[in-house]
Amino acid sequence: MITRYLFYFLSILALYSAIMMLISRRQIHSVLYLTLAFFAIGGHYILLNAQFLAVVHIIVYAGAIMVLFLFTVMLLNLNTEQKSPKKMSAKIGAIVSGGMLMIVLIAILRTYDISMTHDPDLTQIGLIKNLGKVLYEDYLLPFEISSVLFLTAMVGAVLLGKKEQI
């Protein structure tokens, strides 16, 4: 009962802040709405009993990434209200194609039978103990290989950030 109300509240919050992020004129407001959207999604994780994912979501997105976003917006001094430079035709095209994708997805998800993949044993999967077991037993290789991805990203960040030219 309570979870249902919370679900509706969080969903409306997530949708509202996502839309506001898109239509805000000031970049810094967009960033804040994005943070709010991340929080709402973190709340959804908690409703799914996935506490670890919720907290990691908040640490990574709301904590680290949003701070970097804020930093960038502040460093570039984007306080001015900017008009979108896009042409009207491009806007209409984007709205039509995005709307078509949305209609298709809504139609598809409406027919989705939720009982098809519902597994009552899975309600505990989001706890850190179970998640750790899955991660280190079934998905060990992706977990380890992702280190190559992060090493690449780190070396690349240094490469692009260094002052010396090629």
Binding site: P142, I145, V148, L151, L159
Partner: protein, 458 residues
């Protein structure tokens, strides 16, 4: 698995050499290390091992394609010394990122799980975003990296969403698991699965640069440092096509009627748009970008005409295309350095003073057109044969029309070099560089004359 470990070790070793300031050791280490990796890869032949719950599958198919990609990377590194010879600083980071990108490519050929596919694509993409922008002072390089990064990360979202929907329907990330799900539910596949399938096609089509998801490609290939462009249009393209091929041949082959029309239309569009737009280009690098788009259309045909032989066809095609394109880029690097641009007019009179370079570029262009007896001819011949064999006459006709059109623009630099008068100039390529070009040209001819080593490999 050996390949991935060896490549990662090589990449890290390069980084350590950079820390130790052994700049002159970098290229020799790579040129010695990659053959070792190649040998380690080939030892996986016929072992057919599955690692970590089918996360990684090293079958003959993976071994051969990995070998082609590693060999192509080796060829590209042969030109690296010349390309970067004016650079003062250590290049360990750039070389290491290329090696790590290769790890991503290897993951994309040998994945047995959609998570591994996504990881491979991301490893590759992030490496490429960085490499595309590694000429920090060049505005075109900056434009290329930003364009590629913004579109690439957006389209990665489509791929990921597609994977999620497919997982939502089938409950598994495993390719074989999805296959058995598809077989069991072939008559009543839920719409969510179909949507996932098409979103994945969009995501992968972007990475391969299939029309209409190709708009980034010419600008990115043109703006990127030439050596990295060579890597992007050969190794990366091969890896992406093969990822698509493995996905559709393993998981979705039971519902071929579902995705076949889409892929066929995309392939036809790619061939036509790629070739006809190629006609209007005035410089070689952009022309090669459009050429790479049209060639990915041809390679898509092999995916559509899925059969046992199409893997072989694809292998041969990828090899022939990679060698010829790298050869063309090898000459392009020289001309760009000598002339400062790569307009077709800059190639005028090249043959007078630089016969080896002119000959190499001609071989590359003729092979890409598909003139016998070069490798490109047999690649196209087998491909069209496979397509024909499966009863896709109309696809074959369109592909042949596309090939005929492509001849026009492939001949432009050849005509400029041999027939048009121009200011004489020396490209000042070293002996070693000339030998590399000649080696590639001979390789193209030999593969064409003796195609039988490769054609029945898998």
């Amino acid at each position: 698995m050996n390949t991935i470990i060896a490549l990662t070790v090589l990449g890290v070793a390069i980084l350590f050499l950079g820390i130790l300031k052994k700049n002159s050791w970098l290229l020799p280490t790579i040129l010695a290390g990659i053959p070792i990796v190649l040998i380690l890869t080939i030892t996986g032949w016929d072992t057919n091992r599955h690692y970590f719950n089918d996360m990684l599958i090293v079958d003959n198919y993976a071994v051969t394609f990995n070998s082609v990609m590693i060999f192509s990377t080796f060829l590209i590194f042969m030109f690296a010394g010349k390309y970067y010879h004016l650079v003062q600083r250590s290049l360990d980071d750039i070389y290491a990122i290329v090696i790590f990108a290769l790890v991503g490519c290897v993951l994309m050929t040998s994945y047995g799980n959609l998570i591994m596919l996504f990881l491979g694509i991301e490893t590759l993409s992030i490496a490429l975003y960085i490499l595309a922008g590694s000429h920090k002072e060049s505005i075109t390089s900056n434009e290329a990296t930003l364009k590629y990064f913004l579109l690439g990360s957006f389209l990665s979202g489509f791929l990921l969403f597609g994977i999620a929907l497919i997982y939502g329907a089938s409950g598994t990330f495993n390719l074989d698991g999805i296959n058995s799900y598809v077989i069991n539910h072939a008559s009543h596949l839920p719409p969510i699965f179909k949507a996932g399938l098409f979103l994945m096609i969009i995501g992968l089509a972007f990475k391969i640069a299939i029309v209409p998801f190709h708009f980034w490609a010419p600008d990115v290939y043109e703006g990127t440092p030439t050596l990295v462009s060579a890597f992007m249009v050969t190794v990366v393209k091969t890896a992406s096509i093969i990822a698509l091929f493995r996905l559709f041949s393993t998981s979705f082959s039971a519902v071929k009627e579902l995705w076949e029309p889409t892929l066929a239309i995309l392939a036809v569009l790619t061939i036509l748009v790629g070739n006809f737009t190629g006609l209007y280009q005035t410089n070689l690098k952009r022309m090669l970008a459009y050429s790479s788009i049209s060639h990915s259309g041809y390679m898509m045909l092999a995916v559509i005409a899925f059969s046992h032989s199409s893997a072989n066809t694809l292998l041969f095609y990828a090899f022939a295309y990679s060698v010829a394109t790298i050869l063309a880029f090898g000459v392009l690097i020289l001309v760009r350095e000598a002339k400062g641009n790569d307009l077709f007019t800059s190639f005028r009179g090249l043959a007078k003073r630089n016969p080896v370079e002119a000959f190499s570029l001609s071989v590359a262009m003729l092979s890409l057109t598909g003139i016998p007896p070069l490798a490109g001819f047999f690649a196209k011949y087998y491909l069209f044969f496979t397509v024909m064999d499966k009863g896709y006459l109309w696809l074959m006709i369109i592909a042949i029309v596309g090939s005929a059109v492509s001849a026009v623009y492939y001949f432009k630099p050849v005509i400029s070099m041999y027939l048009e008068e121009g200011q004489e100039f020396d490209l000042k390529a070293g002996v070693a560089y000339r030998m590399s070009l000649l080696f590639l040209a001979i390789l193209t001819v030999l593969t064409g004359v003796l195609p039988f080593f490769l054609i029945n490999l898998i």
